[in-house]
C-alpha cells in the first residue's frame, strides 16, 4: 500500500486533466522534479505528455532570466496529445521563473512560489520592481507562497548535513507538495532516490524527508485545503512505460538491428538535441552495438556509409547544422544505392540559431537540399513514442529498398515524453535484406534484383567472386562501372527517382481523421501531431466540420494524398517553419493551402489550433 493512501482528512475533487509547470533556476533541479512527477503519474496510469525547456547550453548566472529552466507536464484521465495549453499550476522557485512563465499561466491558475528566493537581489535580477508576492499584482491567481527552504532545513535538521546540501532538497519539497495536491503516491520517487544515491544514504534520507515535508505541508496547511484526483486514463491494454522521443528512437534502432539480424553501427557527432541518441546507444554495448563518435558530422556520415558498404545497418544522427554538413555525402549514399538511416533531431535555426528550442525548418533541406537530382526517402515522427516506430520503419525501408532514408524528429519530440505501449518484440516485422550469399554466374552488382522494391543486391566485401568496384561517379546500370554514357545517365537519374516512388506502394494510404470530406482539413507532419489532434478534437466537439491528416511519409507522399485533400474546401497546414510542407503540397497537388506558421522556438498548443480553426470557419 502506498504511503499517500493513509492520509485521512483530505478533501478531494475530481478533474480530468491538469497541466503543471515546474520552473526555477538551472541549478534548482527542475528537470529532475518534472521527471519524477511524470514517472509517478505514468505509473499511476494517467495519460501524459511533457515538455522540458532549458535556456541555453551553458549555465546562465544564478537567478537571471536567462537561467530559468522549466518542465511542463499535462496528465489526464482522458486521452491527451500535448503537454497542455496553459499551465494550471506554476511552481516558481525564484522570481526569474515567475517573471518568465507568468504570462503563460491560465487565468485563475495557481502559483506555488518558494518565498526563500524572493529576496532583493533575485527580484532585481529578474526585473521585478517590487515583490510580486506582496502587492496585489497577482490577485487574479491563487498564490501559495511557502518558504520551502526554511521548511526543508527544519525537516532535515536531524540528519546533520551542511546547509548547502540541505538546500539542494528544496525541489523535493515542491515535488512532495504537488504529490499531495494531486494525490500521487511517493513510492516510485523513493525507489528512484534509493537507486540514484545508493552510496550516500544520508542524501536518500534527506530527499525523502523533503518530499514528505512537502506532502505534509499540503496536508496540514489551510492554504491547500483541497487536493485533486486525476484518475487513470483508459488506454489500450498492454505494458506501458513513460518514454522520451530520443530514447524511443534509439530503441527503435536497436530493435531494427535485431529485426534485420545485421551488425549495427551508429556514427554521430555530439550536437544538441540529438546527442542523447548517441549516449543511449553507447550504453548498449552488450547488444553488440557499435557507437562511433566521429571527429565531425562528415566523418560520421561517411563512416556510416563505409559500414553500410561493408554490410552493417548503419545509422547517423545529428541536428540541422550537422545535417547541412552531411549533404554532400548523402549524395554518395544515393548514388551508391546503399542502405543508410540519417536522423535529424531539428532545432531552431538558421545557423547555430536557438539550439535548445524546437523548430521544423529542416524539411526542405531533407527533401531537396542536395546538389544534383538526389531524391531521398523522408519520414517524420509525430510523438515521442512514435519515434520508435518511425526509426524502425526507416531501417526497414533502407535495407529492403537499398536506399538512404532520412528521419526527422525535433527538440520537442526528442526531449518530450509520453506513455508508450511497449510493443511485442515478436510482433515486429522482420526486415529482409539484399545480401548476396555467393557469386552466381555473371554477377552484376548494380542490376535491380527486385523490381517491386527497385533494389539492387547488397554484395559486401568478403565473399569470393563478388569483388566489384562502385563509387560516386555515374555508374552503368548493371555493372556499376563508371559510365559517361548519356542515355545511361538519364536512365540512372530516373531510376533513383523511381526508387523513391515505389516506396509509396508499401506505405499506408492517407486517411482523414474525423470526416472524409468537409469544410477544413488540417494537414500536419511531425511533432505538431498532438496540438493538431487536440485542437481538431475540440473544434469537432463544438460541431465544426474539420478533419485531420498527419503525414509520417513526406517523400514519397501517400499515393492517395491528392484525392484525400481535394475532398475538403480548405486546407490548413500548421508548421513550425514558414510553410515548407505547404510549398511541397502546393507544388505537388496545385492546391491552395492556408499556412499557419509558428517559428518562435515553442511548439504549438491545442488552443492555437482550435482558435485558428475558429478563425477560419467561425465557431460552429
Amino acid at each position: 500500500m502506498s504511503e499517500t493512501t493513509k492520509s485521512p482528512k483530505k478533501q478531494t475533487e475530481q478533474v480530468s486533466q491538469v497541466t503543471i509547470r515546474f520552473a526555477g533556476d538551472s541549478g534548482d533541479g527542475m528537470q529532475l522534479t518534472g521527471n519524477q512527477f511524470s514517472d509517478t503519474s505514468a505509473i499511476f496510469g494517467n495519460d501524459l505528455a511533457t515538455l522540458p525547456d532549458y535556456p541555453s547550453e551553458i549555465r546562465a548566472p544564478a537567478g537571471s532570466l536567462a537561467g530559468v529552466s522549466s518542465y511542463q507536464i499535462q496528465f489526464a484521465s482522458v486521452e491527451i496529445h500535448t503537454p497542455g495549453d496553459e499551465p494550471d499550476v506554476l511552481v516558481a522557485m525564484n522570481p526569474a521563473a515567475l517573471k518568465v512563465h507568468l504570462p503563460d499561466l491560465r487565468a485563475q491558475g495557481t502559483i506555488i512560489a518558494n518565498t526563500a528566493n524572493f529576496n532583493k537581489r533575485n527580484l532585481q535580477l529578474a526585473g521585478w520592481d517590487e515583490n510580486p508576492l506582496e502587492g496585489d499584482m497577482l490577485k487574479d491567481y491563487r498564490v501559495i507562497a511557502v518558504d520551502m527552504h526554511a521548511l526543508v532545513v527544519d525537516a532535515l535538521k536531524d540528519i546533520g548535513l551542511p546547509a548547502k546540501i540541505m538546500a539542494r532538497s528544496t525541489n523535493m519539497f515542491a515535488l512532495g507538495l504537488l504529490y499531495w495536491m494531486y494525490d500521487r503516491p511517493m513510492d516510485s520517487t523513493f525507489a528512484f532516490l534509493e537507486d540514484k544515491f545508493q552510496k550516500r544514504p544520508e542524501i536518500i534520507e534527506a530527499n525523502k524527508k523533503a518530499v514528505r515535508a512537502g506532502y505534509h505541508f499540503g496536508e496540514t496547511t489551510e492554504l491547500t485545503s483541497v487536493s485533486y484526483v486525476v484518475t487513470k486514463a483508459k488506454k489500450p491494454a498492454g505494458t506501458y512505460r513513460n518514454i522520451m522521443g530520443n530514447h524511443a528512437l534509439a530503441l527503435g534502432l536497436v530493435a531494427a538491428g535485431k529485426g534485420s539480424d545485421l551488425p549495427f553501427i551508429y556514427a554521430g557527432y555530439p550536437i544538441t538535441p540529438a546527442s542523447d541518441i548517441l549516449h543511449i546507444l553507447a550504453g548498449y554495448k552488450n547488444f553488440r552495438i557499435i557507437t562511433f563518435q566521429a571527429e565531425d558530422e562528415i566523418a560520421a556520415v561517411t563512416a556510416a556509409i563505409g559500414a553500410a558498404y561493408a554490410g552493417a545497418l548503419a545509422v547517423t544522427g545529428t541536428s540541422g547544422p550537422g545535417m547541412a554538413l552531411k549533404s554532400e555525402a548523402l549524395g554518395l549514399a544515393v548514388s551508391a544505392e546503399l542502405p543508410l538511416v540519417v536522423v535529424n533531431v531539428q532545432r531552431g535555426g538558421p545557423s547555430t540559431g536557438m539550439p535548445t528550442k524546437t523548430e521544423q525548418a529542416d524539411l526542405s533541406q531533407a527533401m531537396i537540399g542536395r546538389n544534383g537530382e538526389t531524391p531521398m526517402v523522408v519520414l517524420a515522427a509525430s510523438t515521442p513514442a512514435d519515434c520508435f516506430d518511425t526509426a524502425y520503419e526507416a531501417c526497414q525501408i533502407a535495407i529492403e529498398h537499398m536506399v538512404p532514408v532520412i528521419v526527422l524528429s525535433d527538440s520537442y519530440l526528442g526531449n518530450g515524453s509520453e506513455p508508450w505501449r511497449i510493443p511485442d518484440v515478436n510482433g515486429l516485422p522482420k526486415i529482409k535484406n539484399r545480401l548476396v550469399k555467393e557469386a552466381g554466374d555473371k554477377f552484376q552488382p548494380f542490376a535491380i534484383v527486385d523490381e517491386k522494391y527497385m533494389a539492387r543486391s547488397w554484395a559486401i566485401p568478403g565473399i569470393p567472386g563478388l569483388e566489384h568496384r562502385i563509387g560516386g561517379l555515374e555508374k552503368d546500370s548493371l555493372t556499376g562501372n563508371v559510365s559517361g554514357d548519356f542515355l545511361n545517365h538519364e536512365h540512372m537519374v530516373d531510376r533513383r527517382q523511381k526508387k523513391i516512388d515505389v516506396v509509396a506502394d508499401r506505405i499506408p494510404l492517407a486517411k482523414a481523421y474525423g470526416d472524409e470530406s468537409g469544410d477544413l482539413l488540417v494537414l500536419g507532419w511531425g511533432s505538431t501531431y498532438g496540438a493538431i489532434r487536440s485542437g481538431v478534437d475540440r473544434a469537432r466537439a463544438k460541431g465544426v466540420s474539420v478533419s485531420h491528416v498527419h503525414l509520417k511519409h513526406l517523400n514519397p507522399f501517400p499515393r492517395n494524398l491528392g484525392e484525400v485533400l481535394v475532398k475538403f474546401s480548405r486546407i490548413l497546414i500548421p508548421e513550425m517553419n514558414k510553410g515548407q510542407l505547404a510549398r511541397f503540397i502546393r507544388a505537388e497537388y496545385l492546391i491552395d493551402v492556408l499556412c499557419y506558421s509558428k517559428i518562435d522556438g515553442r511548439p504549438f498548443v491545442p488552443s492555437q489550433i482550435e482558435n485558428k480553426i475558429a478563425e477560419i470557419l467561425g465557431d460552429a
Partner: protein
C-alpha cells in the same frame, strides 16, 4: 581478427588486375604503384575477396577500379573516414586507402589525422605528386614554396606540409616512405604496411608526368640518387652515398651528415636506425626537409599499439560477459512500466 586462411590456389599478379582500362596519362607514376601492389598482394596468402580499396577523388583515387578486389571510390577527402566505417563493421577485411596529397592532406586532413590517432588497422597509400593532378595542376599542401601552378601564376606562398612529421604529430603508429619507380623497395614497403597492425601511413613519391614532371628526379636518377636516398634499415647504421661513404651521426640531439672517407668518423659513429624510437623518428622526419640531408626512405617509425577496432570489439565482448547478451524484450521493458488491462 585477421583471418589468414590459406588461399586455395597460388595467386599471381593477374588475379589482382581488374577488367577496367587503366586511364592514367602515359608515363604517370601511378602505373608503377599499381603494378607493385598487384605484385605484393599475391604474396600475402589471403583470399582476394577480403581486400577492400577505398579512395577519395583524384587521379590516384581511381586506383580501386584497377584492382580486382572490392573497391569504393568515394568522395573527395573522405576515404579515410569511409574506410574507418568499413573496418569497424567488418574487422576481418584488409582495408586499404588510396589517396592523393590533395585528397588526404588538403580537404581530407581532418579524417586522416583522426584515423592515425585512432589506429585502426588500415593501410594508407598516399600518392604524393605535390600537385592536384585530376583538376589539372593546382598546387597542393605538399607543393614547394614559390611553385608556379594554375592557381598560383605568380608562385605559391604556402609552406608545404612535411607529411611524415604531420603523421607523427598525429600519433601515427607506422610511417614509411618510398618512391613510385623504386619497384622493389616500394613492394617491400607495401608488404610492411600490410604486416603492421594499426594504421600504416606510406608516403609514396609519385611522378605526375603532366603537371609536375620530374619532381623527384634527384631521388631517382643515377648517380645523384645515391647521394639523396637514405635507405633506412632497422638496427642498421644510417649509411648512404654511392659507395656508402656517408652517414648520419647524432651530435647530441641534432643530426649531422658525416663523410666516412675523411678519416674522422667511422661507421661506428653513425646512428643506428631503430624504427621503434620515436625521438629518432622525429629527427628523421625533420631531416627530410633539411637542406644538405638525404631523404629517408623505408620505415621511419613503427609502434605496436592496440587497434581501435580490436578494442571496440573487446569492449562489446566484455559488456556481454558482464551484462549478458542484450535482450531486446528486457531492454524495452527497462525502468518503470505499468500494465493496462
Amino acid at each position: 581478427m585477421t583471418t589468414n586462411v590459406a588461399v586455395s590456389h597460388k595467386q599471381s599478379r593477374k588475379d589482382y588486375v581488374s577488367d577496367q582500362v587503366v586511364r592514367w596519362c602515359p608515363g604517370c607514376g601511378d602505373y608503377s604503384i599499381l603494378s607493385q601492389v598487384q605484385k605484393a598482394f599475391p604474396e600475402f596468402g589471403r583470399p582476394k575477396e577480403e581486400f577492400v580499396f577505398v579512395s577519395g577523388i583524384g587521379c590516384s583515387s581511381r586506383f580501386p577500379y584497377y584492382m580486382n578486389t572490392n573497391g569504393f571510390h568515394t568522395i573527395h577527402g573522405r576515404a579515410t573516414a569511409v574506410a574507418t566505417g568499413v573496418k569497424l563493421a567488418n574487422p576481418d577485411l584488409s582495408v586499404w586507402v588510396a589517396t592523393g596529397d590533395g585528397d588526404s592532406l588538403s580537404i581530407g586532413g581532418n579524417h586522416l589525422i583522426h584515423l592515425l590517432r585512432r589506429n585502426l588497422d588500415i593501410n594508407i597509400l598516399l600518392f604524393n605528386n605535390r600537385i592536384y593532378g585530376l583538376t589539372k595542376g593546382q598546387y597542393s599542401p605538399t607543393s614547394e614554396m614559390g611553385k608556379f601552378t594554375k592557381s598560383t601564376p605568380f608562385g605559391t606562398l604556402e609552406r608545404p606540409f612535411n607529411p611524415a612529421a604531420f603523421a607523427l604529430g598525429a600519433a601515427s603508429t607506422f610511417i614509411a616512405r618510398s618512391l613510385d619507380m623504386e619497384g622493389k623497395h616500394l613492394q617491400e614497403m607495401i608488404t610492411a604496411s600490410y604486416r603492421h597492425r594499426g594504421t600504416s601511413f606510406l608516403e609514396i613519391y609519385q611522378n605526375c608526368r603532366i603537371f609536375n614532371d620530374n619532381a623527384f628526379i634527384d631521388l631517382l636518377e643515377k648517380p645523384q640518387k645515391f647521394e639523396n636516398q637514405l635507405i633506412l634499415e632497422h638496427y642498421r647504421p644510417m649509411l648512404f652515398g654511392a659507395n656508402k661513404s656517408k652517414g648520419i651521426r647524432m651530435d647530441g640531439h641534432r643530426p649531422q651528415v658525416v663523410d666516412l672517407d675523411g678519416g674522422r668518423y667511422s661507421v661506428n659513429d653513425l646512428v643506428i636506425h631503430d624504427k621503434h624510437d620515436k625521438m629518432l623518428a622525429n629527427v628523421l622526419c625533420e631531416l627530410t626537409y633539411m637542406p644538405d640531408f638525404p631523404t629517408p626512405l623505408g620505415i621511419i617509425y613503427e609502434d605496436n599499439q592496440d587497434t581501435y577496432e580490436d578494442q571496440v570489439h573487446k569492449q562489446m565482448d566484455q559488456a556481454v560477459a558482464q551484462l549478458g547478451e542484450g535482450d531486446l524484450e528486457q531492454l524495452l521493458h527497462d525502468g518503470h512500466t505499468w500494465e493496462v488491462q
